[in-house]
């Protein structure tokens, strides 16, 4: 499978990555190589093998439903660029 420049631009946009346009072609080639490897693995007959969601053969531990986290707004907001009235302020997003 081969990716072209427009695929790379779309992926970069979805991931909010700024990339150097001059390197787009190289990224396309590199990522295509990775996908080729995946395609080779995909060709292996895996009938009868359960899909694996996690490499560990363990199951999720569950936590009792008890509030345990105290309010730490102050230290958290001390590292935020902008806050007001307890809110984090961010550039306006219009729906």
């Amino acid at each position: 499978m081969s990716l072209d420049s427009s695929d790379i631009e779309k992926i970069a946009h979805l991931a909010r990555l700024g990339i150097d346009p001059e390197r787009t072609a190289r990224y396309a080639a590199d990522l295509s190589n990775i996908l080729d490897l995946v395609a080779r693995m995909d060709a292996v007959d895996t009938a009868g093998v359960d899909p694996m969601a996690h490499p560990l053969h363990m199951v999720q531990r569950l936590r009792p439903d008890q509030p345990s986290e105290p309010d730490q707004r102050e230290p958290f907001q001390s590292i935020a660029p902008l806050t007001e009235g307890g809110l984090y302020l961010v550039p306006k997003v219009i729906e």
């Binding site: 946009h13 979805l14 909010r16 969601a53 996690h54 560990l56 363990m58 199951v59 999720q60 531990r61 569950l62 936590r63 009792p64 439903d65 008890q66 509030p67 345990s68 986290e69 309010d71 730490q72 707004r73 958290f76 907001q77 902008l82 007001e84 009235g85 307890g86 809110l87 984090y88 302020l89 961010v90 550039p91 306006k92 997003v93 219009i94 729906e95």
Partner: protein, 477 residues
């Protein structure tokens, strides 16, 4: 061309937990901004989500209530998108292998027919935070208290064919989640939010038309209006030669219209993948049994039982099983009074009218079920008439004590002494010779006049049946 409407709903219901789905931050409503958002909810580096056991149990309860298959093994996935109220850049949800599989609910349509609506799946996920767009000098304020709140997203099949059916289904799910105690269903606080997928197709066509998704509707009335508007918009569009675009739309209640949320399309590429921070969830028979052991009688079963056990009409049974609290209240009144039909009339009539008038709920009802039963017993044993009972009810509502206390204090005991009633009637007959003559001349309607006089002069306390009998006897020519 006749069109057919096709609707499917996605309902997000907040699960009734004390803490968040993946963190130990509390979920109480109305806390000061960001005081219930911990490092996990904020997506700070190095944190690890740990699943809340109760959230899993509540999801399992729902699955059982809709007769769905509970997945013995389910997994969490990351749904990737960027929005400031989603600090991690992804929402933890379930994609493949949701916890609750295919199930179904029955809805009753206006004409009384019962329709089965399929539930495709229900999955656990975390809620996002809240964006406040006003009052911050052109910036947006973010409150992450809601981030990480456990949600159950309930996805229906596209089985509904009208806005009314969609509302009936949504109300059914709302009733169910409250019955089984998995959510408070509070719509004002956002605990129950609906998305509607709406499309139209020519009647007889098999393939589905292109759908639009109306997001985040939080009232049943708006749901009906939003779908109604959307159906008309799509039909007008197609009949005018246009095509429906698959997109997300928002309902504007003030303008009663839906409008496009532009730019959301490309963001719909969510790139789901299994969350490496969370292991598969396994549900064994013991867990399943524990989670569903105390499931209450469900509304459908209760409705059927009320008709059989208490001899209620389908209408009354439906009305009185609307919520578990109301059904329990009714059953106490019915049992304590021994008069289920009178109990149904009083609970469904006088009591609900009084609650509606004061916009109160049963929890704060000034008349307990036991006391209402006491009132009904006094009607039944002839101490008071049904009419006087309304007066007693009102006094009880206003804190006058139990029925016997009110009857005693206000002297409302019914007059059943036939001698006293005869004396009263003799006086009325003597005072109204013209009416007596009219009645004896065959004008039957005048009888009502005498009954009215007797009731009026006795202050409503004369036993109506006795009044009737005595009048008939005395007025006979």
């Amino acid at each position: 061309m006749p069109w057919e409407t096709v609707i499917g709903l996605e309902i997000h219901t907040q699960l009734a937990t004390q803490s968040k789905i993946f963190s130990g931050a509390p979920t109480a409503f109305g806390a000061a901004p960001n005081t219930q958002a911990c490092a996990i909810d904020l997506g700070l580096p190095g944190v690890l989500p740990v699943l809340n056991e109760r959230a899993v149990k509540l999801a399992v309860r729902f699955g059982k209530a809709i007769e769905a298959e509970i997945a013995p093994r389910s997994i969490f996935a990351r749904k990737n998108y960027f929005y400031p109220d989603l600090p991690k850049g992804y929402q933890i949800s379930q994609y493949e292998l949701p916890i609750v599989g295919r199930g179904q609910v029955e809805i009753v349509l206006d004409d009384g027919t019962v329709k089965t609506v399929g539930v495709t799946r229900a999955h656990l996920e975390e809620d996002a935070g809240k964006s406040l767009h006003e009052d911050f000098h052109g910036l947006t304020g973010i409150d992450l208290n809601r981030a990480g709140t456990p949600l159950l997203e309930i996805v229906s099949e596209p089985d509904m064919r009208s806005p009314q059916e969609a509302v009936a289904y949504a109300k059914k799910i709302h009733q169910l989640v409250r019955y089984i105690g998995i959510s408070d269903g509070n719509m004002q606080e956002g605990s129950f939010r609906m998305d509607a997928n709406v499309s139209v197709r020519p009647v007889g066509q098999k393939a589905l038309g292109t759908r639009a998704e109306i997001k985040n509707v939080n009232s049943f009335r708006f749901l009906e209006k939003a779908i109604q508007f959307e159906v008309e918009r799509q039909i007008d569009l197609i009949e005018g030669g246009g095509t429906v675009v698959q997109e997300t739309r928002l309902y504007d209640a003030a303008k009663d219209e839906t409008r496009s949320m532009r730019g959301k399309e490309e963001a719909n590429d969510y790139r789901y993948f299994p969350d490496p921070d969370l292991l598969p969830v396994e549900i064994d028979a013991a867990f399943l049994a524990e989670a569903t052991a105390d499931l209450p009688e469900l509304p459908d079963a209760k409705r059927a039982r009320f008709q059989v056990d208490h001899g209620l009409s389908e209408y009354d049974a439906n009305l009185l099983t609307a919520t578990r609290e109301l059904a329990d209240y009714f059953e106490t009144v019915a049992r304590d009074s021994g008069e289920p039909k009178l109990a149904a009339n009083w609970v469904g009539g006088e009591l609900m009218a009084a609650l509606n008038k004061t916009e109160g709920d049963l929890a704060g009802c000034p008349i307990s079920a036991t006391r209402l039963a006491g009132l009904i017993r006094r009607i039944q044993d002839g101490t008071i008439s049904g009419k006087i009972a309304k007066q007693v009810f009102e006094a009880m509502w206003n804190g006058g004590g139990d029925a016997d206390q009110v009857i005693e204090a206000q002297g409302l005991r019914q007059i059943t002494d036939s001698g006293a009633i005869e004396t009263l009637i003799d006086a009325i007959i003597a005072a109204n010779p013209d009416q007596v003559e009219q009645y004896r001349a065959g004008k039957d309607k005048v009888f009502g006049f005498f009954v009215g006089q007797a009731m009026k002069q006795s202050g409503g306390k004369a036993n109506p049946a006795q009044v009737n009998d005595i009048l008939k006897r005395k007025l006979a020519p």
